[in-house]
Symmetry: C3
Subunit: 660 residues, 3 copies
Amino acid sequence: MNVDSILFGSAYYDEYMPYDRIETDFQMMKEAGFNVIRIAESTWSTWEPEDGIFDFTHLHRMLDAASRYNINVIIGTPTYAIPAWLAKKYPKILSYNKNGQELYGHRQLTDITNPDYLRYAERIIRKLMEQVKDHPMVIGYQLDNETRSAGAASLETQALFIEKMKEKYPDIEDFNQEFGLDYWSNRIASWDDFPDIRGTINGSLSAAYKRFLRDVITDFLTWQSNIVREYIHEGQFITHNFDYSWIDYSYGIQPEVNQFDAALCMDVAGVDIYHLSQDKLDGAMIAFGGAVGRSLKKDNYLVLETEAQGRYDWVAYPGQLRLQAYSHLASGANSVMYWHWHSIHNSFESYWKGILSHDLLPNAPYREISEWRKEMLKIEEHLRNLTKKCKAAIIIDNSSLTGLDEFPISDTLDYNHILRWMYDCCYEMNLECDLISVNDSFEDYPLLLVPALYSATEETLRKLNTYVKNGGHMLLGFRSGFSDSEIKIYHDAQPHLLTECIGATYDQYTIPRNVSLEFDGKTYEVSEWMELLRPIDAEVWASYKHTFWNIYSAITHKRYSNGSATYLGCYIEKDGLKAIIRKLCEVAVIPLPYYTFPIIRKEGTNDFGKKVQYFFNYSSNNQEFIYDGDDGKELIGNTPVKTGERIILKHWDLVIIEEN
Amino acid sequence: MNVDSILFGSAYYDEYMPYDRIETDFQMMKEAGFNVIRIAESTWSTWEPEDGIFDFTHLHRMLDAASRYNINVIIGTPTYAIPAWLAKKYPKILSYNKNGQELYGHRQLTDITNPDYLRYAERIIRKLMEQVKDHPMVIGYQLDNETRSAGAASLETQALFIEKMKEKYPDIEDFNQEFGLDYWSNRIASWDDFPDIRGTINGSLSAAYKRFLRDVITDFLTWQSNIVREYIHEGQFITHNFDYSWIDYSYGIQPEVNQFDAALCMDVAGVDIYHLSQDKLDGAMIAFGGAVGRSLKKDNYLVLETEAQGRYDWVAYPGQLRLQAYSHLASGANSVMYWHWHSIHNSFESYWKGILSHDLLPNAPYREISEWRKEMLKIEEHLRNLTKKCKAAIIIDNSSLTGLDEFPISDTLDYNHILRWMYDCCYEMNLECDLISVNDSFEDYPLLLVPALYSATEETLRKLNTYVKNGGHMLLGFRSGFSDSEIKIYHDAQPHLLTECIGATYDQYTIPRNVSLEFDGKTYEVSEWMELLRPIDAEVWASYKHTFWNIYSAITHKRYSNGSATYLGCYIEKDGLKAIIRKLCEVAVIPLPYYTFPIIRKEGTNDFGKKVQYFFNYSSNNQEFIYDGDDGKELIGNTPVKTGERIILKHWDLVIIEEN
Amino acid sequence: MNVDSILFGSAYYDEYMPYDRIETDFQMMKEAGFNVIRIAESTWSTWEPEDGIFDFTHLHRMLDAASRYNINVIIGTPTYAIPAWLAKKYPKILSYNKNGQELYGHRQLTDITNPDYLRYAERIIRKLMEQVKDHPMVIGYQLDNETRSAGAASLETQALFIEKMKEKYPDIEDFNQEFGLDYWSNRIASWDDFPDIRGTINGSLSAAYKRFLRDVITDFLTWQSNIVREYIHEGQFITHNFDYSWIDYSYGIQPEVNQFDAALCMDVAGVDIYHLSQDKLDGAMIAFGGAVGRSLKKDNYLVLETEAQGRYDWVAYPGQLRLQAYSHLASGANSVMYWHWHSIHNSFESYWKGILSHDLLPNAPYREISEWRKEMLKIEEHLRNLTKKCKAAIIIDNSSLTGLDEFPISDTLDYNHILRWMYDCCYEMNLECDLISVNDSFEDYPLLLVPALYSATEETLRKLNTYVKNGGHMLLGFRSGFSDSEIKIYHDAQPHLLTECIGATYDQYTIPRNVSLEFDGKTYEVSEWMELLRPIDAEVWASYKHTFWNIYSAITHKRYSNGSATYLGCYIEKDGLKAIIRKLCEVAVIPLPYYTFPIIRKEGTNDFGKKVQYFFNYSSNNQEFIYDGDDGKELIGNTPVKTGERIILKHWDLVIIEEN
């Protein structure tokens, strides 16, 4: 979805305000250069204070003000937080899961398969749509927010799961066999014997239920989308606020949602990206999160939420909010929207601070983003709708994530850590990557990186073989090709069909202690995981350095038809992985710049068909580099730039060069 | 409450004894100089083995023995541990809380709002009172013990809470507004929609429930007090055993009880103080706990429990039990009572050892406290009823504690840690402090220290302004004046009304990394918390040392009318805080001695109107100092002391000087 | 139970196989030298897929193949994992315990006191026995597997416990007195008032319930044994797979089973031993586990399970599987059986790998154990049925373990850690020890080591006194003789009756900080626990080095009649304990070799009445020693060896010398 203007704004909650200040707020937003706000999600109880009694006062106040100040509006359906009266009336709406029955209070605890919930949700969506659908400032709709299944496992929800299993396995013997249910006497002769899934110790069954819960979310968003689509006009869009896995900040792919599937019903993907700041601001999560956003619709995406002040330790140094905003655009975002306008004076997220602090006065963040907006507006047409074409792609896969959740490598090295380890190495080397699904086409990428593809169908494995055969260069990481789509381990030489293209196999693996490997003349520590590889017809790029494990290979490489497959059988320190990727970029003829993090380069093609390069300095020190692009113009300063020119980047600063 | 003689003794449980040895025990107690025992609390099932069947055999054995040996008795009501038959009969008596329904076994798990419990509690109290009220050895009564609300959240208890909310907020819209219930759809249109409080994510609501549970305890103790008062005689007192927050030992103020309110129904405050020992004995908790005890009735207090041997690592070095006993007296205690006489051979607290070990023979602790008693008796009339008059006070505040519980600074820096950080600095500098409530008068104190007064009414804030205006000197700590009494954050410049007296404001704060500040020529590390202060009309005493945060102030100071207000916007190492306090003592003209911890000085005025100074050595090494008081007499050795005399304190030893 | 041939094999599950490969498996097993497999346990739902419908197809496939390949079979009853239909039909079969009601899925969660469970268990056992009892390859039966009580605490199970208490304490007053129930109002006047045991805070009561649950297991296994015995033939044996306490591997004695009692109904003890590997392979757990196995029937034992590959970090270095197998034999094992033949492709233990990896192909472990088997077979008749006669014994005691569970020393130093501390010191010094119960005879051992015998009857204490009086040499560890069999602390001078033989006493103990002791000219650190000993008529071997505690003794020694008793009042570093043990070996005239770990010597007498000595090298480096036995023959290499000969052991290698 192309935009005429970068969307710039925040979530706005008139209903949370401690006193009436809507004119002040809109005036301040206008002065800051806002062209959009996101409203209405989260506050169902405001819109429907009692069953069937609707009150859209605050909504219309906001819409009317939006008209007066000419600020666009994205309407969110308020379904992710239910009113107390609804929970009282239909207690089963609160999810029954591994914790027992959830109590009312928190958001995202509803059982979204519950028919009563769905009936009430539909009604409030329709009532809301009727209020807003013809309002001229409304440009789009957000379905729910960061949708969750709340681990729903009521008898009714479990019955839906069993029904799906029945359909997939008409012969219950196939089910028993595929899931290995003989083990510990878990076999069932009748679907009526299916036990409470919450107690299962069967990793395949647990994984299947997690997949089912992801499908529940897809179905739910599709269902909402269908309702909303009945009302929307030409030019309005449907989106959703997708989030990421979370370790006190956005980190990896979201395990609880199949975002590829869920995005099918939408016009544009929306994401929320929260990241570390101050000395820990490195831009990696912005790039990673953006790559996810781009991948969902293979298009530009919206940043629907990102931090203004956020948590205590996210308060940005001067210049960082500006740097962050450009970083989003450089990844292909068509919006920078903050959560949220004002810090909240009560409840739960009082210290997840917005642009304004609790005093609601203009402050440092407000001034910095206002200034950025003015600066950016002058060059906006060169920045919006950036088209990115990466030479490398990394496969992301929820099924493998779940598989490694069921059968973890260790307490620390989960799927997302492996993924980010690989992604971050590329990022720091200035190798921009797409993130793709196993269902996507691999063919356009000279280089394909495959981290821990633990669960893969034979079809996928054949597709990878074919990719290599057709000339692709693949870096396959450890723990790949090990199990099928039901997390059943393949029972022949590992990594199953991929032995063909990698030309190596193994049947043992262990936790390395005092193990290292040498690659390209340097020694790297091996930790967490090592497979004891035996080459078949591959070249050995590295063996383990260890008294006993030295008889085994660690990295193998095989030229296979027109392409090559490199297998990395262990977890090594990042510098080691970077050395491998650097070598593979040579093999795949992908040029890499000589400068690396904290200098980050991102590029794309703008609406004028010109190549735009961003150069960021993610550090508190000045950095310099020799510009190696074509002659062009630095957009912010509007100054010409020549190939070979020495460019100095001040701390937390950037330049944007549009090639001639 | 004045005493004729320091109360010296312990809890005594004849009913726990493995065999009949009551004569031996009383003889040993008498020989040790006991003049009081505390009995009857904890063992309801002994007094009422079956519903309505009472057996006071052990009680009378103890009372009779007390008469024979002329030892006074404090009677405790046994209500904090219920009999098994009562829990069987009325299962709802066991508290229903966040854990679900509690199981029978532990003490303090009753729902003290439960009418059946209250009916049975009243009966056993009355039965007990009838047995003891006329006994000549009974000098006082202890209501319950370390009363807890057990987080009671049954529907019935919650209904009481809702009722209070209704009364306070007749218009439910005011309630929604004050508590910010629009957030996440928590708004209610009818009190009938009020959801189970246990699920709430609203910090204000959660805090209000905690306050309600504190009020439940106040009501309960007042109710008990009223019953007991029907029976008591002239000269008998009512007390309670108040405890502290707990981190393996007594540490800070007790969050679950409003001790100021609860103490209103009593004649004298009682406390139990448990502290570290051996190399970690520093006297700080004895001083802090004593300051709490003094504050509750603005009078001397009783130490109803302190450790004899206690836990494994509390076993005292030779001399420490003596030092501890004097330390209590020096804080204004009129009793030293141990928990407990004998170590218990079964159950739960077998290794919370009493004076006697499990062999029930005279041992090192028994001998040391006996000797102390003999030594102290000779000078007792100079020590009892010590009147203390501190020049500095520290505000303690349960509402702020709860506020910072709901919205924590970090995992480590909670309210009590901030309070103790401030208290301990004063203590180690030999600045004796009172602990006072926001409802107390501030006027008598030249110096007022205010740690983290996160929740404060506008009335309180005005009172602080007035205090400064009238000539007081206030050190205001970070996180003060931020929210109102319902933990709703004030929505103007922080710290709200206090900006007036401190002459500074801020709207951002963060977690310091590599931040320090310089004060009085020395550099101190800043950690955990920093507010980015901007002076309005205050003098800047210190700014942050940091690449970016150096534009903000850390400490500001303002002469305001006749007084001054110093604002400390961050958490710094103790030496830094001490430097600030030292400077403020100069400003407030409070002299501080040159010697500091491990030499601790405590002082007061005795019954003869003379000033008594204790000098303690809390260390394993000898210490010496130059005595700077008036000429007087060292009481223990009965030797004259002159100003300027060099005094040597042996390890874990002390001197007591009464000025002439 | 003597064997004609060492049992060598593994668990085998045809029912878990991803495809039919029974011929391949048996051929591979045969080629590896297997003479036994263990089948049928764990998979009740395979044998009885629906209530009353039995299907023994897989069983007969395995038995038939066993006949064809002449491999013996041990049949396990499948009762430790129930079918889903049984849990559906009788929900109460799933244990109701401290967690509430367990969910179906995991093994060992049944309430083995449940009558419905027992009825169905009996039926499947009988059906199974009918199938197998006459099969010529069946040599023995395993009752259940690693039986657990699942903490059963349903009202019905608790009623059984109360019934036992009633029987033991006909007068409820004795019960109240022995358990100290006055404390915290826990006294009951009627058994009907007995509260839910799950809430108890009474350590004695909690310990009694744990003992009851151990008795439940004894009763259950005895009941199974009686059923199985109705069917078995001459020459067939009954065993059980006993396990150990677990800290990611087998570690200490199993707290939940009284293995001495449970083994009474069996013909031979079986155990499963899992241990660390690679650089951490030290043989200690194999020796400890073997000593437990030997002790249960005072005879050789079976290793029914040990690791082939096991967990990620247990993958053995080359040579280690061979070393491990011999290590078992050297401890008196008559079998080496792996869990399990093949790695499993689904469910829970997919990464508890068997001999074969998931590819089911011959691999390094398969090759190594096959080669070992061939090597061992040549000398088997010299190794089997090894009779061991140790000069030292260590008392192991579940009641004391429970006591220290209820009243822990610290988070880290539990009973099993103390036991292993003592055992491992002996092991590393090459002092082979038996593990014995307090009910066993002590008289045959010149040296008796008694770790933390916290709970002991007076009868036991007298027995220890008598042992010393009769010439035994006892090392008594701290925390011994402190409480009776109901964990009631003795109320006279500690350690109660043992003061007589040790000639010392104490009434205080603490956690040592900066404390050490000097013994035999060296200084050793004291940590975790120290008792402040006072000698009565004992010699002081060491006092504490500490400013204040130096007045107390740490180690005392008393010649008592013909024997001696040494009391160690504290936990010291292993080298200190070794020095004490070394001195006691001198006193008890037990010769110790000069070489110590990583060279380990184990010895016994073989079927030819000859002394066999194993010398193991548990390290990655070569080791050498001077052989100090009689002239003999090295069995593996079949070469003569002479006294005084220098022998070199390669890394992870061994020699076996049979004296002439």
